[in-house]
């Protein structure tokens, strides 16, 4: 059976829209393969690999709740070739933690019959996507870093906070190294060692 990918993805997007607005999950279950795998790269609160319909629906529910049902998707171009993969460009917007956010992604889908077997969600700007989809608690629980501070510091480090080789040497000496490492990162620590804090 040859199914037009546009029809399958059209059903998927309509079902997502309905669910994100607070609707039922029935239409989504109808369009996802039982072994669906949904890949969300990055470091946000929603990043992960979700396998199976229940996990994927829980992921959708998390996005719906983070955006408090304001999440809207605008599917744009669909790109398809001869194989089982198709891609769609999608523009999203939502109000998250009181802030109007907008982003764009490529959804790279693998279809099986008239259902979706796999999705990889590839953000145009992964750093921005991660920021948008990471929740910032209004009150910092004890023992947790203050996200407000870490959101406000650290900008421009790539340009203005390059490790200094002489200070690096002093720190390496403190660590008991015989010689400074030649591979320093742009952060505040040598790339050769994991650091906490």
């Amino acid at each position: 059976m040859v199914v037009d990918p546009a029809l399958t993805l059209g059903r998927l997007h309509a079902a997502q829209q309905e669910f994100y607005a607070g609707g039922q999950d029935g239409p989504l279950r109808e369009v996802l393969c039982p072994d669906i795998a949904w890949h969300v790269p990055g470091a946000s609160d929603i990043a992960g690999i979700y396998v199976g319909v229940d996990e994927v629906l829980a992921y959708f529910a998390r996005r719906r709740d983070l955006a408090d049902r304001t999440f809207q998707m605008q599917p744009a171009e669909l790109l398809s070739g001869d194989g089982e993969h198709v891609a769609t460009i999608t523009h999203g917007q939502a109000t998250i933690a009181g802030r109007r956010e907008a982003w764009s992604t490529v959804g790279l889908y693998r279809l099986r019959g008239d259902r979706v077997a796999e999705c990889r969600l590839l953000a145009f700007d992964q750093t921005e996507f991660d920021r948008i989809w990471t929740r910032r608690p209004e009150h910092t629980p004890p023992g947790h870093p203050d996200p407000a501070v870490y959101d406000r510091i650290g900008s421009g480090y790539t340009r203005h906070r390059q490790p200094d080789r002489r200070i690096a040497a002093a720190i390496h000496a403190g660590l008991g190294d015989r010689a400074p490492s030649s591979t320093w990162g742009r952060g505040r620590a040598p790339t050769s060692r994991p650091t906490g804090a």
Binding site: P145, I153, S155, R161, I167, I171, T191, P194
Partner: protein
Amino acid sequence: MIAQRPPGSAPVIVGAAAALPLADATVDAAMATLSLHHWPDWRAGVAEMLRVARRRIVVFTWDNRFDRFWLTSEYLDWLADWDAERFPTMDELLTELPNPTVTAVPVPRDCTDGFLAAYYARPKAYLDPAVRQAMSIFALAPDPDRVAASLRALEDDLRSGAWDARHGSLRHSASIDAGYRLVATEL
């Protein structure tokens, strides 16, 4: 900050200093560089470093009792007072560590890591908003209007030559001690 690291950097685990997501004695060394003043409870963070490290603790920090350099003594003394409150004193920090050694770390004239004193010999750099934004004292400064006014005084002094009359020799110095200290403990 994590996203700005180059490919191939060490693994990152996001966690809180006061509750490191590591088991006891699982790393050779625990290190914090110009970081303690951002922790809600620095003592709890140091206790966690002691818990997870097997051999060494290294803390690169700033001694808030040390004599200030020209920027923080002449132009931004009020902001430096605010910043100093965020750091533990050296005595307080040393109390939390067994057998610590303290080493002064001079700031080179052409320091490439733009922390607060890094541009002591390049005063014009402090007038660059991008340079300031990469320093937490400015990124978190409580009164941006007052910061701007303080920096206008610096700009005026640079233009008139008053700064060079007082501090121009710094432009040719190799380094200064601005109170940055490396505190190391062997466990």
